[in-house]
Amino acid sequence: MKNLYKYIAVALLVYIHLGGLLLEAPRLNILNETVRALYFHVPMWFGMVLLYSISVYYAIKFLRNPLSDFDLKSVEYANVGTAFGILGILTGMLWANYTWGSPWHGDPKQNGAAIALLVYLAYFVLRGSVDNEEQKARLSAVYNIFAFAAMIPLIFIIPRLTDSMHPGNGGNPGFNAYDLDSRMRLIFYPAVIAWFLIGVWIVSLRVRYRLLQNQLSEN
């Protein structure tokens, strides 16, 4: 039962890879067949934001009740979230190269996402630079809240205020402008769930590994 979510994630992944490549996708100019990249590129960012949200949740929990388990979970969620973000940047650059003309287009959302990732990389630098375990945990928990509060406007608000080439940005509100037609939603939403669950799974492995490491170093 505890492993059920892993099987759900695997089943959804197989479904989205089959469906994402074989089912009908809208015929759009410029995008052509690359429209399918949406099934794989965007879930990376959704996964990152969800994992960062859980990370900041545990950071706040740690500040209210300083248990080292909360700190551990907060770090590992941020860790895997950053991995998702890096994959998001790389897939976005490849996609942009063929649809916008160059891998780095200075698009506000692209820049915002890169800055957000740098803010989170600074989180790991901060952790690495403090020796005292308790201080490290408390400082990084506070910084985690700051990083989350910086990431949301960088990715979701500023690109909407200016002119972004990402769909649904540059004045267009919300999600419907994503011109996701219902066929794409059938694959896109399961893809978000699947990759998020895979992220949670990897986090659980990392947390268990770190707990083992701590137990062994105590003895």
Partner: protein, 70 residues
């Protein structure tokens, strides 16, 4: 009259279908000759490989947890 109208209507529908297919280029050839399944197969092999790896890692950590508990 009715015949002419239906003919016009149907030819219009076909025209719409054709023009859309002609305007936007997609990987239709790959789908037609079935080579798309090669791509799908390769991607699935990578995916399944990584998932099996993840399950193996999971099992390894579980085994170690049991060992440490003892």
């Amino acid at each position: 009259m009715k015949k002419i109208l239906t003919t016009l209507l149907f030819s219009f529908i076909t025209f719409l279908g054709f023009s859309q297919a002609a305007e936007v280029e997609m990987a239709d050839t790959m789908r037609a000759n079935g080579k798309i399944y090669v791509v799908v197969g390769i991607i699935l092999i990578v995916l399944v490989g990584f998932i099996l790896y993840l399950f193996a890692l999971d099992r390894k950590i579980s085994r170690l947890e049991k060992l440490v508990k003892k």
